[in-house]
């Protein structure tokens, strides 16, 4: 059945047009990923009208190319400039930027591209082999399980923090507080909107991330003294040897890819959570001499393999159930519908050649990502050679354009600026920024699923114990929290 599907899809896939559009999508995806503010979703929305004028498989080649390229592209600016091009790459900062600071920028980018491609391929294997099975598992996850998973995600704040745990938790709480701004999903009341319609949906996550990371970095660089000095960097290029370097972390790669596929297959979870979760697990499992947070190769492998494997994961409920895992795959479904293809269980029986074609496109897009990524790395490395006096205004301009593009909103620019100031102050006070993003992403996820669970429950909090998966997740959370408290107390005692 599976082999038949792939064989039937081969003639649809094996066309010059498919490869051309896939390459175009990947390059466009890398571009929107690198530029702060834009991202794969925006790239896909912009080219959707073009995609619906194509045949289904070429259209998916274009869309998946953007998704795969965009999910990887954000890491390049994170590594080179300490600016995550997309929120997906926020966790890649931890080790990517320190590695670049040690003169290993090309290797870091090579690792990011290789890990993205290999993680994506592993996600593809899971997609091909287990889509219907995993779709069934994902469908059994309800609000109690999602609420318990959100708590697991919040515990990761303690793991990913390098310095003071207290400061990390304070940052995380600020993120949770910011997440309450907007319209309450349950009462439809407005919270902390101060009569301003721009705040009815809270702050846009991208404006917050660009402000916190990009503006603060540019501000701190501008405070430096050597604005006109030209960095003396020898020409470097990424090589395909980075694949071998990535494979040296094969356990981490497989584990992080599995985490990515898992979160991707859960509608609503997404790549940001999977990248942070994979990093937290990799760091917890690493030896102390690997020095996570100081340029560890494993850190990049974990986050980048996870967020690209998430792409494969999100296709599972999309294709097998017709349920979009996130906004990006909702657009995929629309494109397929316009082209006369109906995602869902019938897709596998009625049009197996389309399923096979999509599988082949997704797998090939990850291979092509490796090729295009390595070839284009020298262009990106060039940014390191720019004088700060030139680089800072260009980056700020890109940030402003990217953020404005989100909703054509000047308010978003003010949000970006406000969080830029906040990020600068936080960094001057050694408060980590990533927990703010984790809190902001997981806050609504936790609150809404917790309240939904209690509304559904006929037994109050008992719903969390009645459902085996939710109960197991809560037990894991209890162990993680006990371990975190024990580690914290032991650290306090030794210092």
């Amino acid at each position: 059945m599976l082999i038949d599907s792939l064989l039937q899809g081969m003639p649809l896939f094996w066309q010059a047009e498919v490869f051309l559009l896939m390459a175009l999508g990947l390059i466009f995806g890398l571009l929107v990923g690198v530029l702060p503010g834009l991202g794969p979703l925006m790239g896909i929305i912009l080219l959707m009208p073009f995609a619906i004028s194509l045949q289904p498989i070429p259209a998916m080649a274009l869309m998946l190319g953007i998704f795969v390229g965009g999910s990887c592209g954000g890491s390049i600016s994170a590594i080179l400039l300490r600016i995550p091009g997309t929120p997906l790459a926020a966790a890649t900062l931890f080790d990517g930027y320190p590695m670049a600071q040690k003169g290993r920028a090309a290797q870091a980018i090579g690792l990011a591209i290789s890990a993205s491609a290999l993680g994506g391929m592993l996600g593809g294997v899971v997609l091909i082999l287990l889509a219907p099975l995993l779709a069934g598992v994902a469908a059994s996850f309800g609000p109690p399980e999602y609420a318990a998973l959100a708590v697991t995600g919040l515990v990761s704040i303690v793991v990913v923090s390098d310095g003071s745990v207290v400061k990390a938790l304070m940052s995380g709480l600020l993120g949770l507080l910011l997440a309450t701004i907007g319209t309450d999903e349950f009462s439809t009341g407005y919270r902390f909107t101060f009569g301003n319609y721009n705040m009815l949906n809270g702050f846009h996550i991208v404006a917050v991330v660009v402000g916190l990371f990009a503006l603060s970095e540019m501000a701190l660089q501008a405070f430096g003294k050597d604005l006109t000095a030209k960095p003396d960097i020898a020409p470097v290029r990424a090589s395909f040897r980075s694949v071998l370097a990535t494979l040296r972390h094969w356990k981490n790669l497989v584990r992080s890819s599995a985490i990515g596929v898992f979160f991707g297959s859960l509608p609503g979870a997404g790549g940001i959570i999977s990248a942070f979760a994979a990093y937290a697990v990799a760091k917890a499992a690493a030896r102390p001499e690997e020095r996570y947070g100081e340029g560890a190769e494993g850190g990049i492998v974990a986050t980048e393999s996870a967020n690209n494997a998430t792409v494969g994961g999100t296709l599972i409920p999309t294709l097998a159930l017709g349920i979009p895992g996130e906004a990006t795959t909702a657009i995929f479904i629309s494109v397929l519908l316009v082209l006369g293809i109906y995602p869902g269980p019938a897709l596998f029986t009625e049009t197996p050649e389309v399923v096979g074609g999509i599988y082949l496109v997704y797998f090939s897009a990850n291979i092509l990502l490796l090729l295009l990524g390595v070839l284009t790395t020298p262009l990106f490395i060039y940014t390191l050679k720019l004088r700060k006096a030139h680089l800072i205004p260009v980056v700020l301009l890109m940030c402003a354009i990217g953020t404005f593009t989100l909703q054509a909103s000047v308010f978003d620019l003010w949000v970006m600026f406000g969080f830029g100031v906040l990020g600068t102050l936080f960094r001057m006070g050694n408060y980590p920024l990533s927990p703010i993003v984790i809190g902001l992403v997981l806050g609504p996820f936790l609150e809404n699923n917790l309240r939904r669970s209690l509304l559904i429950s006929r037994d109050g909090m008992g719903i969390f114990l009645d459902r085996p998966v939710a109960a197991a997740l809560i037990a894991i959370n209890a162990v993680l929290i006990a371990w975190a408290v024990y580690s914290f107390l032991r650290k306090q005692k030794t210092t």
């Binding site: 009208p49 906004a327 869902g344 354009i401």
Partner: protein, 329 residues
């Protein structure tokens, strides 16, 4: 094919701040403010925008501006200059329902219509294999005997599906617990896994996987809606009269601009949209997305939307009734 790609890329460039390149209206990118998160509905808007873009000769970009059941998008239009460069994809929730619920001081007549866009009938469905009740009346009878026991979702709270279902429940005297979700897909997932007893299902979701649902009631008196749901019973077959007709019990949208938009610009936009909505290719693409393309031109706006406003106003207490009954349990 590559002309479309060029226009799409021009749209991207324009969105990123490229200058205007023509002189007469429209001389630059026209923006369509869309009130929900990206998804199938936004794709309908993009299909129309893409076709209108061909006719107007400038890119048209669709901007997703979700928040407060579409109120944020509507307020965004109000904050823009009345120059024809900002169009609002006005769904019933922000345009009519929010003022009915007392959440906005505007009226549908405060806007100038371009053309009707789409309608989306919906149904009340159980998950596949759920045979606890043979029909809708049986479920309602069970619900009356077990107040507060039924759990259902209409997607987001205070939307038209929520109001229509609350109205039906009110008429039957059934108290059921509404579980809000950010999106319809999440609600359908929890319907399939048995967490919810019933949920609203739109045509698109039903047609993608008809075998997943046991449709008990189509919330429309139109034959086309009944056919779209595989001939399931509709509201005309109930023992009670819900007094819902036309567009009142279903989702729909019109494209509108600010009322003080200059007549010349308004005429250009109306002509382009009217031609677009008559285009068979556009109608076919919209239909495939699971919604019904509408044919009403701007001069029928008052006659179509006015009665909907009156009907929604008359059932405006259904949501408050539901809340009171749940609090009283």
């Amino acid at each position: 094919m590559f002309r479309k790609l060029a226009l799409a890329l021009m749209g991207a460039a324009a969105l990123m701040g490229a200058p205007a390149w023509a002189q007469e209206f429209p001389a630059r990118t026209v923006e369509v403010i869309f009130p929900w998160t990206p998804g199938t509905s936004m794709s309908v808007t993009q299909v129309i925008a893409d076709s209108m873009s061909d006719k107007l000769g400038v890119p048209m970009t669709v901007i997703s501006t979700p928040g407060a059941a579409g109120t944020k998008a509507l307020e965004t239009l109000q904050s823009r200059p009345a120059d024809g460069y900002s169009i609002f994809d006005a769904y019933v929730a922000p345009l009519v329902l929010q003022p009915v619920l007392g959440n906005g001081g505007w009226s549908y007549s405060d806007f100038a219509p371009l053309h009707s866009n789409l309608s989306a009938p919906f149904s009340i469905a159980l998950r596949k294999g759920d045979d606890r009740w043979a029909n809708f009346d049986e479920m309602m009878a069970w619900g009356r005997e077990h107040p507060g026991e039924l759990r259902y979702s209409a997607g987001a709270r205070n939307t038209l599906p929520h109001m229509a279902i609350a109205k039906v429940l009110q008429e039957y005297g059934v108290v059921a617990r509404n579980i809000p979700y950010a999106g319809d897909a999440e609600a359908r997932r929890d319907l399939s896994s048995g967490i919810l007893d019933f949920a609203f299902v739109n045509v698109g979701a039903y047609q993608r996987a008809p075998e997943d649902f046991n449709v008990l009631l189509v919330l429309s008196e139109l034959d086309t809606a009944k056919e779209a749901f595989g001939g399931a019973p509709n509201i005309t077959e109930l023992d009670i009269n819900l007094e819902l007709s036309g567009l009142a019990p279903m989702g729909w949208s019109w494209w509108v601009v600010r009322k003080d938009t200059p007549p010349e610009e308004l005429a250009v936009l109306r002509e382009a949209m009217s031609a677009t909505m008559k285009d068979p290719e556009v109608r076919e693409a919209i239909s495939r997305l699971g919604v019904v393309p509408l044919e009403w031109d701007y001069d029928e706006y008052e006659a179509i939307v006015g009665p909907v406003f009156e009907q929604l106003k008359s059932m405006g207490d259904a949501l408050a009734w539901e809340e009171e009954q749940m609090d009283a349990l």
